[in-house]
């Protein structure tokens, strides 16, 4: 992935990032050599099953790795500068000011005993050095930006509906004018209508503030609605990366194909959910070669021995022995 964007330095560049979680005995590799780039204003979805490493990837970028996590390889560059993602203290200026997070489950992410304006004002005071008065004014401004009337600012979290709480979380994430927002399944606990409203809000804010979005989700319908690009992760590795149109129209990797085939589509008579056979891989004892080979319908002998390289294929990237990287096909990714 070196020098793949000679024309323009991306906002965020992740090169071969590997993160281990320290378990007694041997460490567990949560993500293994993840590489991707994110441009200003771009929305990328990280899609995968539980344990596929999507949250670890996003939290590493936001500087929020848990204390037992260790960066065992790779680098993250932000605006051309290397991020010290494994150094808690050195990440402090970056956190929230440049990359902020919309946590899932807003009820837990809001302190029940403080008014919402006070909670939104907190990062402004701590990060931007505002006085309490300035910070409160900024908090009210942010509330209006996410569609909550200013007079609701005095409310406590339990007095708000689920959708409004999620809006408060978004307002909080915007407090320090970051360039990247990580949405950690921001619509998981919401009903479909509220979900659509929150996604629309995120889309509007993105174009208004030129924000880049990393959306963690396992819901492909959310992806189609709100992202430019999709990265499919499996067992801690990126298996396919492409634009939303590409991934949905012609998925390359067998896992992606099965994933998309599993969405029921009543419109064309496909009313049954077709699950992917087999179990998610065990991260402690990851299958050799391509981690997906035990469940893959088109396994070849090479799949059990060699880890496929994430190479360029068409307009995107795919890591599969069925689609060996084409060196001559140097089409710009993310066109």
């Amino acid at each position: 992935m070196t020098n793949s964007f000679p024309d323009k330095e991306p906002l965020l560049r992740v090169d071969g990032l590997s993160v281990d979680y320290g378990l007694k005995g041997d460490p567990l590799r949560a993500i293994d050599g993840v590489s991707f780039e994110l441009r200003t204003g771009e929305a990328v979805a990280l899609v995968g099953e539980s344990g596929s490493g999507k949250t670890t990837t996003a939290m590493a970028i936001a500087g929020l790795l848990s204390p037992n996590a260790r960066v065992s390889g790779g680098q993250v560059h932000y605006r051309g500068q290397r991020l010290p993602i494994d150094d808690d203290a050195a990440m402090r200026p970056h956190r929230w000011s440049e990359t902020s997070v919309v946590f899932q489950g807003a009820m837990n992410a809001l302190n029940p005993v403080h008014r919402i304006t006070k909670q939104i004002a907190e990062p402004c005071i701590l990060k931007l050095g505002m006085t309490r008065g300035e910070a409160t004014a900024r908090a009210i401004e942010l509330l209006e930006l996410v569609g909550i009337p200013a007079d609701r600012g005095v409310a406590y979290p339990h007095e708000l509906s689920g959708g409004m709480r999620q809006r408060v979380m978004i307002a909080m994430a915007l407090a320090c004018r970051p360039s990247i927002i990580v949405g950690d399944e921001p619509t998981t606990a919401l009903d479909v209508i509220t979900q659509a409203q929150i996604l629309k809000l995120l889309r509007d804010l993105r174009s208004q503030l030129n924000l880049a979005l990393i959306l963690i989700t396992h819901d492909l319908s959310v992806v189609a609605e709100s992202c430019d690009r999709v990265m499919i992760m499996y067992s801690g590795r990126v298996v396919e990366d492409g634009t939303v149109a590409e991934i949905f129209a012609e998925p390359k990797h067998p896992y992606t194909k099965l994933l998309i085939a599993s969405i029921p589509n009543p419109a064309n008579g496909k009313k049954m959910i077709r699950p992917i056979p087999g179990d998610p891989p065990n991260l402690v004892n990851r299958p050799s070669g391509c981690a997906f080979h035990p469940r893959c319908p088109s396994t070849m002998s090479v799949c059990t021995t060699e880890v496929p390289r994430l190479g360029r294929f068409g307009h995107g990237r795919v890591a599969c022995h069925l689609h060996p990287p084409l060196q001559e096909n140097m089409v710009t990714v993310h066109a």
């Binding site: 997070v101 946590f103 302190n111 990062p123 990060k127």
Partner: protein
């Protein structure tokens, strides 16, 4: 964006406090406890206005061990002092000791419990072993051993804020021996609160550990601390009365326990002077009972799940 937002009337802290008080005051126990407590607080606040200065053997006005009469509503003691006068002055001493001891207990207990739960690891291990030590040690026995030693070393004389030094020894001893169960409750709550996402969020936006504990965890602990604080007061009154009864109180500033002790030594029981033994005993009982009632009512109000249990 705003078309789907329903407007609610603004609700604030006053409203929440009102709702809380409404529910709290509906509890019969809380009503009884509050009335009783307010009565004793008024008595303790102005003893001189109600019954005149504290009587001693020198300015005693009555007969020896006279039964209750119009002049001495609660009778007199063995040197002719008015028992009502002693009780009213004792209220101030007893309540001060109990409340100050509770403050110490809550401050120490909350600090240890929060630090233990928040930091975890070896901090937790060591703080909890120390807490266990105080927990298994019956606080009354510990107080019984520490108090005479400290009194011997420091002496009984000297005044702080109008109270004798020996009273502060008792306050400290009660405080230091009753914090352990507060620490345990606070620790368990802290363990659950610190796992919630808003603590991570506070850390991410740059709050220090101290600020997370004081501004994010402590306000969430107020229900537990308040409800248990009321129970600690009741316990403190009990320990204070017992210690004073055993002669560790200060005879120059008699608390209810000291009065009980004096009555016992004067042979009030065998002399049939029920008013001398009964009055301080009933007072101590009523005050600790009212604190227990208030504590239970607070617990019920703060914790809706408890109401389901009959």
């Amino acid at each position: 964006m705003t078309e789907n937002i329903v407007k609610y009337p603004p609700r604030g802290r006053t409203r929440a406090v009102k709702r809380f008080l409404g529910q709290f005051l509906r509890d019969r126990g809380a009503q009884v406890g509050l009335v009783c407590l307010v009565f004793f607080l008024i008595v303790a606040a102005m003893p001189n206005m109600l019954v005149g200065p504290l009587q001693t053997a020198i300015n005693a006005t009555g007969d020896f061990l006279a039964p209750p009469s119009g002049q001495h509503l609660l009778g007199t003691d063995e040197v002719g002092r008015d028992v009502l006068n002693l009780i009213v002055h004792g209220a101030r001493i007893s309540l001060t000791i109990a409340l100050l001891a509770t403050v110490i207990s809550l401050v120490v207990g909350s600090t240890v419990g929060m630090a233990s739960g928040y930091f975890g690891g070896w901090v937790d291990t060591w703080l909890m072993r120390i807490t266990d030590f105080f927990f298994v040690m019956p606080s009354f026995v510990l107080a019984l051993i520490i108090t005479p030693v400290v009194l011997e070393v420091m002496g009984r004389s000297g005044y702080i804020l109008g109270f004798r030094l020996s009273l502060f020894v008792i306050i400290t001893v009660i405080g230091m021996t009753s914090w352990s169960f507060v620490a345990r409750i606070v620790r368990s709550q802290t363990l659950s609160i610190k796992e919630r996402t808003f603590i991570d969020r506070a850390r991410v936006v740059g709050s220090s550990n101290l600020s997370i504990m004081v501004r994010h965890i402590l306000p969430n602990l107020v229900p537990q601390i308040a409800a248990n604080g009321a129970l600690v007061v009741a316990g403190a009154i009990y320990i204070e009365t017992s210690l004073s009864f055993l002669g560790l109180g200060d005879p120059l500033q008699p608390s209810w326990g000291t009065l009980l002790s004096l009555a016992q030594r004067a042979g009030a029981a065998s002399a049939g002077a029920w008013w001398y033994l009964g009055a301080p005993g009933v007072c101590a009982l009523m005050v600790s009972l009212s604190f227990v009632l208030i504590g239970n009512a607070l617990d019920d109000t703060f914790n809706p799940r408890r109401r389901a249990i009959p």
